[in-house]
Symmetry: D2
Subunit: 298 residues, 4 copies
């Protein structure tokens, strides 16, 4: 991929998109950026990106567009239709879809792109905003091999590792949902166990520290373990309503594939309880507060 | 602690006890060993341990006894009564209780010891037989400080780290139950997510590999992730009925403390399903097979 | 309502629609009937109904249309658009929507009707095909009072009782979902308890008989209790995939209203397991078979 | 059974025992009564019963003793040992055990009685205190046929129906646990559905009324439906901690028989949440309040 071959379209300048685009600029890529609410693009313009008014203007025929947006509907709305990026990309163009969306949505989008001669690559990422800033994202990919190879330098500028799941359009989205579900499950499990510790008179922070230094010495347990143990769920790296979205994507995907996931079902209800109690602005790890409520722990 | 001050009593020569006692012998400790079924002590006798017929003969007044047995009842039966180790240990004696048992059982045993002048230390361990062999156990301790200090060299000969949870008799048992519950939860979560992956046409081993190399790069996820992904649950490092015992200890302890643990409840039922299907000889990770059954995956 | 004022449109001649329409004919109402697959209307034509080819032809401007279809999408597809019944009904027309659909769908449809001058009445029914035949349906209604009064004679010709839930478009649908959820819950509860009885050596049929003659002497427990006790789930009165549809309507409706329903979540997963095992043609009470599977009961 | 053949021992004068004993007196039976706290027997003494100080004095050799106590431990404590009723009853004596206890406890007690020549009959009852007063209890029986026949007049004086489950000692207890579990499940299901109704703007009392007049027109749904709909859980007919005891009896019995009961597990955790919040003095239907808490309904 020739960095000078033309600007890459970058669509979605949110908590994740901003540091990701910043790293692309730092890596020498020219960007044409767009966000639904336009003010968000300013920090990128200041670093040399070109902000455009219409989403289709981010891309050039045969070029590359990256989307990192809140949900399936947002990705579909910028992609499809006469003023969408698929029509503009056309033959030889590549849409790198980095949002956490349903595998079925990826399949639908891939089919649309195929009709127009462009290629769809699913490339959802693991990591929170601070990981994005630190170029420490983990990228999962799926889609046609040649296209994945062409866009690989972009991933290297944003993340620390790329895992490929083959050619099926939605495969990387499945892998991403697996991971997000494991994170939620770990939060619920830690919340329950630390609540037991606390009401048995044992220091919950000490339990968290012991477990996350030994058996569970991994990034997810360390980061979320500290939050759950400390009962601290602000500021949000990823808000609770997005957790609901992901739990529902998991349940829908699994349901369509006829896979019962009772733990996923339990977690969805836990998140809904948190939203019923007005925790919309908290981090998704705030699902853990439901355990405290039910155990009557302050 | 003077290694030559008298043999340490070592009670329970099972899958865990054997490598632990072996390491104590290798570390220069003299041992008097006992097992309910006596043949099990032979490998230790061959390395210099003295096998005794009556459990009380493992200990000398004022000495040290280690128990590592299958359940609460077994620990109580060797400890209490006229022919139990508590009566024999007497003033200055220490009982190092390394089994996974209820915090309430530790409290009861500690109270009995106190009446007889001896001291009870809870010191449950994390690790499977291969970790015990490799001196890689993680030891959690609680009980009177002076006694913990005296027996510390024993832990150093068997494990790689000691985490202390203070003076309350059952505190270390609570921490141990927290950890075991997190392991079961991780198994269930992985089982559900890998089932989703498989029925969506994504390679479950690849998903497991990606997740356990990145976000979940920890011993528990790596070991159990590989087993769950490969649907391989024999040979057993820790059998499924012991998993039921632990799930029930968690639920009893949490219930008594008025902490609802719906995920623990769900996992207990999952384990019971596995036992209903005759998986008694499998590893406790075989609870994952229930997910495959329900998803009609071979 | 003048029975001779013009034919009523009747849309959806399935397991429920056929006996309902038959009772309307028997009650003296003229009907213009339509079904997606046209052969189904023949028994009604034989009794005097007029079968039409296009769904809009079932209705006359200012007239009445009844829909009793499989799901939300089906109701929306016959209602909306230029060739839908809403456009044809126009000012003064009434759409009596008797399917089990989401309250939100009723609200959307009511709003569309309002724009066109017609009125939408939600009127979902409780009862299985045999109850429909016996004119024993229970009808729940909501919507504008005048319209409900005008169509009341139709309900009297099809059911044994009408319960009104006020003017809000979706209120009757909420009540219907409450009832369907209680039925599913009762099936799951009976399945679990009868499994316990059986494996404890107690006759499950005898337990079912005792309970449904005393504390649970109600139609739902008697009918489903007999099926669950006998492990007999064919022929289907209401197929398992429809049970999934209803469980998902409950979860969506409750989720949008921020009401966690963990039992509904558990039941959805139970139904999915049944579908994974190929029970699509069985009655929805076949969710009970999942309990037998997990308990390893034949 | 000859009413004049000697007084019947009646042990346990609580919320249920008092009206049951009162009805026996009214039916012409002579009673010797005992309660752990002795004041409770006064209303019965006033009606002709003989209050005794030692529980064994309630019975005569070869006579009949009825126990209706809070839990398994209480029944065992009055039955076993030198000063227990089993030793006193001796050859030809009958112990009619009417408490809700584990089937396994019945088996253990039956075996003890058999050794002493007496007979154990399990005869747990369905009904709340007001049903006991109204002689409307439902009695489930199991045990040796001749003994059941001899004590039958007692049941007729206390209840409206007797259902027999054969000769196995614990069979009637299994049936009783099935029923209690169905009640708890119905409470949870109603609580969830009425919460959905309320947050969707539909009158929860109206939904309850409709359902309990039609599909769920049975005593349990009518009584508890009204309580759950009205959010009124005092005064207690059966307290929440007794609900926990019963849920745990169900789980223990099912677990030992290798029957997974995920709904029972969920309900246990729900009850524990209620107790964590201090609802110990409320009716067991107060488990429904947990649903309101989680949905943030007042």
């Amino acid at each position: 991929m020739d960095k000078n071959a033309g600007a890459v379209g970058f669509i979605g300048i949110g908590a994740m998109g901003l540091p990701m685009a910043t790293n692309l600029l730092a890596g020498g890529f020219a960007l044409r950026v767009w966000n639904r609410t336009s003010g968000k693009t300013e920090p990128l313009s200041a670093k040399g990106a070109t902000a455009v008014r219409n989403v289709a203007d981010t891309v050039t025929p045969g070029g590359i567009a990256i989307t990192i947006l809140a949900d399936d509907a947002a990705v579909e709305s910028v992609t499809l239709g006469d003023s969408g990026i698929a029509a503009r990309l056309g033959a030889g163009g590549i849409h790198v879809s980095m949002s956490t969306i349903a595998p079925a949505t990826s399949e639908r989008l891939a089919a649309q792109h195929a009709k127009l001669g462009s290629t769809y690559i699913a490339a959802p990422v693991f990591g929170r905003p601070e990981n994005a800033e630190a170029r420490q994202l983990v990228v999962c990919t799926s889609g046609p091999a040649a296209a994945k190879e062409r866009v690989r330098p972009l991933f290297d500028a944003m993340g620390r590792a790329v895992f490929d799941f083959g050619e099926a359009s939605g495969a990387a989205n499945v892998a991403k949902l697996c991971g997000n579900f494991l994170i939620m499950s770990a939060i619920e499990a830690m919340a329950e166990s630390f609540a037991m510790a606390e009401k048995c008179g044992v220091d919950r922070n000490q339990v968290a520290a012991m477990l996350t230094k030994t058996l569970f010495a991994s990034p997810v347990y360390q980061r979320y373990g500290e939050m759950v143990a400390a009962k601290r769920h602000t500021p949000a790296g990823f808000k609770l309503p997005l957790g609901l979205k992901d739990a529902e994507l998991v349940l829908k995907t699994a349901g369509d594939a006829r896979v019962p996931m009772p733990l996923a079902g339990m977690i969805r209800e836990r998140i809904i309880a948190g939203l019923a109690k007005g925790r919309d602005e908290m981090d998704w790890s705030a699902l853990a507060l439901g355990v405290l409520d039910e155990a009557a722990i302050k």
